[in-house]
C-alpha cells in the first residue's frame, strides 16, 4: 500500500500545468523544425519560423506559448494499491489547476453555465478529470491544457461497418478541410475509432498526447495514419491556413472494440501548440 497525500497531487498538477503552458515538448519541436525545412510556401515558412521562435521565447521567459491556456484536462491513472489520504482527490486536482492558473499568469477561460449565464469562474476550474484504476502503487498524471480554437473543429461520425477504412479516411480529411485556417495549422489530428460515441472522442483526444509522429503499433492503422496525413497535406491549407504543404504535423489513431452494428469515428483537432505534460507520484 502506497499512501499518497492529496497535497502531493495538488503540487504535481500545478507543476505540470506550468510546464505544459510554457514549454513545448522536444518531439513536437523536432517535427516543427522538419516542417520548416520541408515547407515550400514562403509565407508558410515564415509562419513556421514564428512558431519556433515563439516557443523559444515562451520557454526562456516562462510565459504562456498561447494566450488560450485552455480548459484544463487531466487524465489520472491510479494504481489500485494506492491509498489516497488527507483530503478530497478531485478537489486536490482542482486546487492544483486553480493555483497554477492564478500564480502562473495563465488565462482563466472557464464559464460556469454553457448556455445561459456563461459567467467566468475566474479560477479556470472545474477541470475535466478522467480517472482510471490500474494495477500498481503509483499515480500517473497527464495534463493537457486544451485550447478551443482547435477543439471547436472536432467532429464525430457514427459510421456503418460497411463503410470501411475509405470512409474513415474521407471523414477525417474532410473535417480538416472544412476547418481550414481556424484551428491554427499545422495541427495534430487525434482519431478515435470504435467503442461508443463518447469513448471514441476520448481516445481521439488522448491520442494527441502520444509521442509526436509515432505510429500506431497495428500495421493497418499505421498505414491509415500515413494515408490520412498525406491527404491532409495535399489539401494545400498550409501553416496558419495561408497556403502550403504542411497542414498537419501528425495523425494519431487509436481504436477500441465496438458493437457489431457500429463504427464510431471521432476526430479531435489540436493546434500546433499541442501542450501536455506528465508526471508520476
Amino acid at each position: 500500500m502506497n499512501k499518497i497525500k492529496s497535497i502531493k497531487i495538488k503540487d504535481k498538477v500545478k507543476e505540470l500545468f506550468f510546464k505544459a503552458n510554457y514549454h513545448i515538448n522536444q518531439d513536437l519541436m523536432k517535427l516543427l523544425q522538419q516542417a520548416q525545412k520541408k515547407e515550400t510556401s514562403p509565407i508558410g515558412k515564415h509562419v513556421l519560423q514564428m512558431i519556433i521562435e515563439n516557443s523559444k521565447i515562451a520557454s526562456r521567459e516562462e510565459v504562456p506559448i498561447c494566450q488560450d491556456t485552455g480548459l484544463a484536462v487531466v487524465f489520472v491513472e491510479v494504481g489500485q494499491e494506492v491509498h489516497l489520504v488527507d483530503g478530497d482527490f478531485r478537489e486536490a486536482i482542482n486546487r492544483g489547476v486553480r493555483e497554477a492558473y492564478q500564480e502562473g499568469y495563465l488565462r482563466k477561460s472557464v464559464v460556469d453555465d454553457p448556455v445561459f449565464e456563461r459567467k467566468n469562474t475566474k479560477t479556470n476550474t472545474p477541470a475535466i478529470i478522467y480517472t482510471d484504476i490500474v494495477p500498481g502503487d503509483k499515480i500517473k498524471l497527464l495534463v493537457m491544457p486544451k485550447g478551443f480554437g482547435s477543439e471547436n473543429m472536432s467532429a464525430i461520425a457514427m459510421l456503418k461497418p460497411a463503410d470501411g477504412p475509405e470512409v474513415i479516411v474521407n471523414f477525417v480529411v474532410g473535417t480538416v478541410k472544412n476547418s481550414g485556417p481556424n484551428p491554427c495549422p499545422p495541427t495534430i489530428i487525434g482519431v478515435g475509432v470504435g467503442g461508443t460515441a463518447d469513448r471514441a472522442m476520448l481516445i481521439a483526444e488522448k491520442a494527441i498526447t502520444r509521442k509526436m509522429g509515432e505510429h500506431n503499433k497495428h500495421e493497418k492503422y499505421a498505414a491509415m495514419e500515413k494515408e490520412i496525413l498525406e491527404k491532409i497535406n495535399n489539401l494545400g491549407i498550409g501553416p496558419a491556413g495561408l497556403g502550403g504543404n504542411i497542414t498537419s504535423l501528425a495523425v494519431h489513431i487509436d481504436y477500441l472494440p465496438t458493437h457489431i452494428a457500429g463504427m464510431p469515428v471521432a476526430v479531435n483537432v489540436c493546434c500546433h501548440a499541442a501542450r501536455h505534460a506528465e508526471g508520476i507520484l
Binding site: 509565407i43 494566450q67 485556417p181
Partner: protein, 184 residues
C-alpha cells in the same frame, strides 16, 4: 518573400485601399481588443441607441484575450482568437466606421461584403505565437468591461505588430487564393 509594410493607426479609406491581400504588415499605434461577450454588449447598446465604450471610427479591433501580465512585462501573452464567432456582429460595426480587424480564420460572406462596401481590411495574426506577439505590445490597459476578465476591452499600444492582410477592401481573400496553389 514580400517586404513588410509599416502602417499606423487610426486607418482611413486612403490607407485601407492600398493594402492588398498577401501584404505583410507591421502595425503601430493603438488597437483595441474585443471578443465574444464584448461584441454582444456592443450590439445591445446599438439596439438601445446608446453610445459604445469606444469610438470605432478608423480603429482596428483585435480579437484577443491576453493572459495576465507577468511582472516586468508590458503585456501577457496575446494572440488572435478565431474570428468567425464575431461575424454576426461585424457588419454593424463596419457601418459605424471600424476599419480593421485582426484575427484568424474564415469570415462570412456578409462580413466580406460589408468590408467591400465600407472599405475595411481583415488582417491575420498567426495563432498560437502569443509570446512573440506580446513583444510588440508596449502598453496595455483595460478600458471597459473589466468584469469580463480576459474578455474585457483592452487598449493596446503596439509597435510593429506582425500581421498579414488576408482579406482586402476589394474582397480578395488569401484563404481562398493560396491553398489551391499548393493542393495536389
Amino acid at each position: 518573400m514580400k517586404e513588410e509594410i509599416k502602417i499606423t493607426t487610426p486607418l482611413d479609406e486612403e490607407k485601407v485601399i492600398q493594402l492588398k491581400a498577401g501584404d505583410l504588415v507591421k502595425i503601430s499605434g493603438h488597437i483595441y481588443s474585443a471578443r465574444d461577450v464584448a461584441h454582444k454588449r456592443f450590439f445591445e447598446l446599438i439596439e438601445k441607441g446608446k453610445k459604445l465604450p469606444i469610438d470605432l471610427k478608423g480603429q482596428i479591433i483585435f480579437y484577443a484575450g491576453p493572459t495576465p501580465t507577468k511582472p516586468g512585462h508590458s503585456c501577457g501573452s496575446v494572440g488572435p482568437t478565431t474570428s468567425y464567432r464575431m461575424d454576426p456582429y461585424t457588419p454593424e460595426l463596419l457601418e459605424r466606421g471600424l476599419k480593421g480587424m485582426i484575427g484568424k480564420g474564415f469570415r462570412s460572406k456578409e462580413v466580406i461584403d460589408s468590408m467591400k462596401k465600407n472599405k475595411a481590411v481583415y488582417f491575420a495574426a498567426v495563432g498560437g505565437v502569443a509570446a512573440l506577439i506580446a513583444r510588440s505590445v508596449k502598453k496595455s490597459e483595460v478600458i471597459a468591461y473589466e468584469d469580463l476578465g480576459a474578455e474585457a476591452i483592452y487598449k493596446f499600444y503596439v509597435e510593429d505588430f506582425p500581421a498579414i492582410v488576408v482579406v482586402d477592401s476589394a474582397g480578395n481573400n488569401l484563404y481562398e487564393t493560396e491553398p489551391p496553389k499548393y493542393a495536389k
